[in-house]
Assembly symmetry: C2
Homo-oligomer: 223 residues x 2
DNA sequence: ACCTGAACACCGTTCAAGT
DNA sequence: ACCTGAACACCGTTCAAGT
């Protein structure tokens, strides 16, 4: 007698939506690199090929997962000036991405925007335009904001390495002569800021908002 | 009688440097996704495991390839004000990345900076500091610049889809009602700008410099 | 018409055997 | 001591066979 990983009696029919949502929650657990068609199928107690009924291939699955995340972003608040509307929407996108740490990396690898992504960008352009910005300025603004429109920045080397705090300090001391300027900043951050939580000792939310406001200032001055 | 893919008589000894440079040129030809340890080994007429003498694993190979690219960036020009020095260096990095279209994507996937990358960032911090910017401002400036320090922006969906120009226009017409704001910008770009070359019709170099200058303006105002 | 599983053409990497 | 190739544990996806 063969028993399945999952109870077959409790089995609901597969739908594209269920496939995508389960893929998101699997990625939350194992990361986007750990996500495979085979593991996802296992999640349903189903043969890998069964997924291909709902999704043409893995790329389409990944696109769909991005759509699920975008769906978590709040709609623009009504009746606000363009700057507030843009700012709040971006911060909402950021909160969604922070809930799914793999999502920004995934977004980076998409080669074609899905309709959902296009709609998101269209709405964002609309916020600038309705605020009275010219086509040209809006166009440049969109390029300037880049991935910040989706609530993230290129996170180069940001992964907090799992290292003991006292070891980390020693490591930086060792780097002091080779990378004096990096060291200097490291020192200033770890000494000044008592509220530092994890990572490389930077307050990522502060840095994100600092850059965001600097950009919005710059755009405002173009008007 | 068995002949090798490459002439064995002409074979120089493998070195880490040769491995990395050949990996870069292989990636130039087949893209970074097409690059595998097995194909790279074939390039030398060697068994895959032979590479592991010079590189601990594939991650280290990829890190090394980034270092090769960084090595192509010009040193900061001497005697310039901080703004010019930073600007020129970033544009030099951009030129290096444009020579290897896969490189920015690769950079995005690195999880730990190599010594070469750290040295690059250290020099960049030095330019700000030598220009008289405070530690705090410099720190925020580095975060704000983000991947632009390496000469690229998050290129979300920028890959020019291989589509016939007349088809592209028709596609956008079809989108006109669904994504009115995107359409409006598309129209303004394709009509105004006669010098548009390839891609989505945007002048990427202009957009990059526009955003770069906007950021440098913003940083300057903080001083 | 639908679902399935074996098979294909790849991966990166381990490891024991060969020289 | 060095190099090698078979083998392992995975992939995404094709395709023909089963119901």
């Amino acid at each position: 007698m063969v028993t399945n990983v999952r109870d077959r009696t409790a089995r609901e029919p597969l739908t594209r939506d269920r496939v995508l949502r389960t893929a998101v929650s699997l990625a939350d657990r194992v990361g986007v690199d750990g996500l495979s068609m085979r593991k996802l199928a296992q999640e349903f107690g189903v043969v890998p090929m069964a997924l291909y009924k709902h999704v043409a291939n893995k790329e389409e699955l990944l696109d769909g997962m991005v759509d699920v995340i975008i769906g978590e972003v709040d709609s623009p608040i009504a009746g606000a000036d363009w700057r507030t509307a843009v700012r709040e929407r971006i911060l909402s996108a950021r909160r969604a991405l922070l809930r799914h740490p793999w999502a920004s990396r995934l977004l980076e690898t998409r080669s074609t925007p899905t309709p959902t992504v296009l709609a998101y960008m269209d709405e964002m352009i609309g916020l600038f335009r309705d605020g009275g910005l010219s086509l040209d300025i809006t166009h440049h603004a969109m390029h300037t904001m880049g991935s910040r429109l989706f609530g993230f920045t290129q996170e180069l080397f940001n992964d907090p390495p799992p290292i003991a705090p006292e070891l980390e300090a020693a490591l930086y001391e060792a780097m002091a002569t080779t990378y004096p300027h990096v060291y200097e900043i490291y020192r200033s951050v770890t000494h000044d800021d008592a509220s530092v939580v994890g990572g490389h000792g930077c307050d990522d939310q502060f840095e994100f908002e600092f850059a965001l406001d600097l950009l919005l200032d710059g755009i405002e001055q173009q008007v």
